[in-house]
Amino acid sequence: MNNESITTKTPVTSFKTGLKDGLPIGLGYLSVSIAFGVQATMAGIPIFMSVFISMTNLTSAGQLAGLTVIASLGTFLEIILTQLVINARYFLMGISLSQKADKSFSLSHRLMCSAFITDEIFAVASAKPNGFSRRYFYGLVILPYIGWALGTLIGAIAGSVLPLQVTNALGIGLYAMFIAIIIPPSITTRGIFPTVLFAGGISCALYYIPIFAGIPAGIAVIISSIISAVITALIFPVKKEEL
């Protein structure tokens, strides 16, 4: 498939190819969103609201942060600020994708497709050397979207029917996945380990030191992540070819 598009220099256009590329992402999302669904139920969110969150947001870290703010009776400002910081990366992904999107992306399709940009969708679509059509993109996003919503439903139901001992154990699932995302690149890529260490350290300090007790949970995440990312961006600037 890749060889063919390189030799003909044409964008990937097939809906079916998109579906095929999206299937493994969809299966991955199914398991992550089951973990999210369990979390949401444990935080006291009704099942249909959990599915509503996943169907309108389609982002793991942002949704968990939103859940935290909602569960702690936070404010709209807190919600807006946490989403801006946590999802800022989609902005860069959007810039890259908008250059790979071919002429079939009219304004209305750009408006539509934007909603489905995630880390994994971006990784697959931006790796197409000659770009992609909107038919490919829709094929790519449909299974991950369904997987994300369906997994949330399964997790939310599981969270409300399984015995407490099991749901408590499942409660660690999403955090364990976050650990599995940040640890391997911490070992291989310079700069990521100090970022992870500073962010986790500052977050712990804000949580345990009594004078910081008044800081809302969402704002604490923002403070920790911005301070640590600024420090490491200054000390370990990333070279262009690494991005």
Binding site: T56, L64, V238
Partner: protein, 103 residues
């Protein structure tokens, strides 16, 4: 817990902000960001966010600090061994479950 209408409004606010972040570069902004500092910042922020959201909250995610600690250690070891997300999550949850029965 807050009223359902307020919860729905908060969820829509979340969704709206997230959508606008994704939509602006796709529709309006077609130039690349040239600043190396800004690029580096964008590169590190996702890891920083995930770490800040995980620590120390993972320790309290199971309703018991000690089972949370065991689950965290298992997740750290399994991910150091580069297991997949799902494997790490399952190993960690199983460790919590088993340890929960013991203590």
């Amino acid at each position: 817990m807050m009223e359902l209408w307020k919860m729905a409004l908060m969820i829509l606010t979340m969704a709206g902000v997230t959508y606008v972040i994704r939509m602006i570069p796709m529709v309006f902004f077609r130039r690349k960001i040239k600043s190396n500092f800004v690029q580096s910042l964008f590169f590190y922020i996702p890891y920083a966010v995930l770490s800040a959201m995980t620590f120390p909250f993972v320790l309290y995610s199971t309703g018991n600090f000690w089972t949370g600690l065991i689950g965290t250690v298992v997740a750290l070891v399994a991910s150091t061994c580069k297991r997949s997300l799902l494997t790490v999550a399952i190993l960690s949850a199983v460790a919590v479950l088993i340890f929960g029965f013991i203590i």
